[in-house]
């Protein structure tokens, strides 16, 4: 049985410390602010900084009742292309679905790393853009922008607003503003 796919599902591959979890949470809160129902969670384990992790976001117009991890995502985000060596990031990504990769490498090279892949590759040098806008290698904001540009699952405005709400207290106004800029840059990037 293929359970009814009223839910939009995202898997985020990242390395511990890269901000995969905040990416997921920002996206989820943005969806909530638009009246949607969400789930956002991660795979937990003893994590040394740098270890591979996965985060999940589900977005729907109805209450999401099941608590499965995502097995058939609508879009996949990869925060570090090195992860593609060890993780099968393209699993269950079909023709009209995308894998968004933070990479400097050309798309064709990236595509080759996934076996039997039929989906789209959207690559973006999020590290570079982040360094540019925030001054740190913190790709999650940029790639979040890219993600909503690709999927249009929530509005850019909602994301920016929620990001501010969540992070202003934690990291201060200035850094938040830079991050918001990074989101915008990601959104606008080709």
């Amino acid at each position: 049985m293929k359970f009814n796919k009223k839910t939009f599902e995202v898997i985020i591959f990242a390395r511990a410390g890269q901000g995969g979890k905040s990416l997921a949470e920002s996206l989820a809160q943005a969806a909530v602010s638009e009246g949607k129902y969400v789930q956002a969670f991660s795979v937990y384990g003893p994590q040394r900084s740098g270890a591979p992790t996965k985060a999940f976001v589900k977005i729907s117009d109805e209450t999401i009742r099941n608590h499965e991890p995502i097995i058939d995502p609508d879009v996949v985000v990869v925060l570090d292309d090195v992860l593609m060596e060890s993780e099968d990031v393209g699993k269950n990504i079909t023709e009209n679905e995308s894998v968004i990769v933070n990479t400097k490498k050309p798309e064709e090279e990236i595509r080759k790393k996934i076996k039997n892949f039929r989906g789209n590759i959207k690559s973006i040098d999020a590290n570079g853009i982040a360094l540019d806008t925030i001054g740190m290698i913190q790709p999650n904001g940029v790639i979040l922008g890219k993600l909503i540009a690709v999927t249009e699952i929530v509005k850019l405005e909602s994301v920016k607003e929620q990001f501010r709400k969540i992070f202003e207290k934690k990291i201060g106004e200035e850094l938040t503003q830079k991050n918001v800029l990074a989101i915008e840059r990601g959104y606008d990037a080709l």
Binding site: M1, N4, V38, Y44, E68
Partner: protein
């Protein structure tokens, strides 16, 4: 769950841990001894931040072990004030001795549990082994399926415990619920405060003008009677629960019962389960119902005291039942299964019951697994052996 949203409610998305902390902020208990353990940490960390910012004025005691956490909670509740704590897994097991003491003294402590597997080998992930291991301790055990239920159960549970003068464990599934951001609706602070009311301990230790003695020695001529009295109090819990939930529905629009029947009224094939798996089962039920299969779910929320008769009633139309347990009772039938069998036997229902154990140590369970279970019920292809969904 029907959604009668009134104006004054706030819709947010939080983790289960944060949701219970938010409920605690509204309840504003007097004392909370805490000791960290994964995956309970989101609860106490969120609440510590709330207090650090003056949004609640609970006294947090950063004790040196879970044993002391529950011991201090016994102390403060006996002193006469509302006390809460939270734990998981090894922590709950370490409290074991004092759990019996808390309930024996009839102290309605509220304990939030983020359920997790027990060592050895060590696992930080979710299952129900810890909670099942404490099911005989004389505490109420209330399970939650979603973040909304965690929030609601924290509030309902406080009232239920105090009404019954029995301590309560409000259980969420480790990680799956405690760390999962989900939508929920918050009540207004005043609504919550009015609902739970002031806590009054008629035997407060701090009432120095009316001295009381807690925890005497009881010899063979009295111990039995105290235990019986305690059991009688347990027998009243379901009724109190019904009442608390009814009142809660009035302020929240969310009506609950000790058990939740989902498409169970006419179902011949029913899964009985607790905790976060229930949502997945509902999805499967809907799908299978669309195909015309008469399947349903019986979700147990109040696991202790076990609502035998209410369960029987809910299962009275069933032919095949699958009970899903998320813990082993080594060398015996799993706990929930065993209780359901007792309920059914007592009422002489003519049903077949299969035992399914899943999700130990954080093993994922998928809707297709649940569908598989229903298929077995439909085909009658299940035996008396426990089946492990690995």
């Amino acid at each position: 769950m029907k959604e009668k949203i009134s104006n004054c409610k706030t819709r947010v998305a939080l983790t289960g841990g944060a949701a219970s902390a938010e409920a605690l902020r509204q309840i504003n208990p007097m004392v909370m001894p805490v000791y960290p353990i994964t995956p309970q940490t989101p609860i106490i960390e969120t609440f510590a931040k709330i207090c650090a910012n003056g949004k609640a004025d609970t006294e947090i005691i950063t004790v040196e072990s879970e044993h002391s956490a529950i011991s201090a909670a016994v102390g403060s509740q006996a002193a006469g004030v509302r006390s809460v704590t939270a734990t998981s897994s090894q922590g709950l097991a370490l409290m074991n001795e004092i759990l019996y003491i808390a309930s024996g003294m009839r102290l309605p402590i509220v304990m939030l549990i983020s359920a997790r597997a027990l060592s050895a080998p060590l696992s930080i992930h979710g299952d129900h082994s810890d909670v099942m291991g404490a099911r005989d301790t004389g505490w109420i055990q209330l399970f939650s399926d979603s973040v909304q239920e965690v929030y609601d159960n924290t509030i309902i549970g406080t009232k239920l415990a105090e009404k019954s003068e029995v301590p309560i464990m409000v259980v969420m599934d480790g990680f799956i619920t405690s760390h999962n951001v989900e939508n929920l609706e918050l009540l207004e602070d005043d609504a919550v405060r009015n609902f739970v009311g002031e806590y009054r301990n008629e035997n407060a230790l701090l009432d120095v003008d009316n001295p009381v003695t807690y925890g005497p020695v009881s010899l063979a001529n009295s111990h039995f009677d105290f235990k019986l009295d305690q059991e009688k109090a347990m027998q009243k819990v379901e009724e109190n629960c019904r009442e608390a939930m009814r009142e809660f529905a009035e302020i929240s629009g969310r009506s609950y019962e000790a058990i939740e029947k989902y498409q169970a009224d006419d179902a011949e094939n029913i899964i009985v389960a607790m905790g976060s798996v229930a949502g997945s089962i509902k999805d499967v039920v809907d799908e299978m119902r669309e195909r015309g299969e008469k399947v349903g779910l019986l979700k147990i929320k109040l696991f202790r005291p076990f609502p035998y008769e209410t369960v029987v009633e809910a299962l009275s139309k069933a032919k095949n039942i699958a009970v899903m347990d998320r813990a082993l009772s080594f060398g015996a039938k799993p706990a929930l299964y065993s209780d359901v069998v007792n309920a059914v036997f007592q009422a002489s229902l003519d049903v077949k019951i299969g035992s399914y154990v899943y999700g130990l140590g954080g093993r994922d369970i998928f809707r297709k697994d649940i569908e598989g279970i229903f298929e077995e019920l439909l085909n009658g292809k299940f035996s008396k052996e426990i089946k492990y969904i690995k």
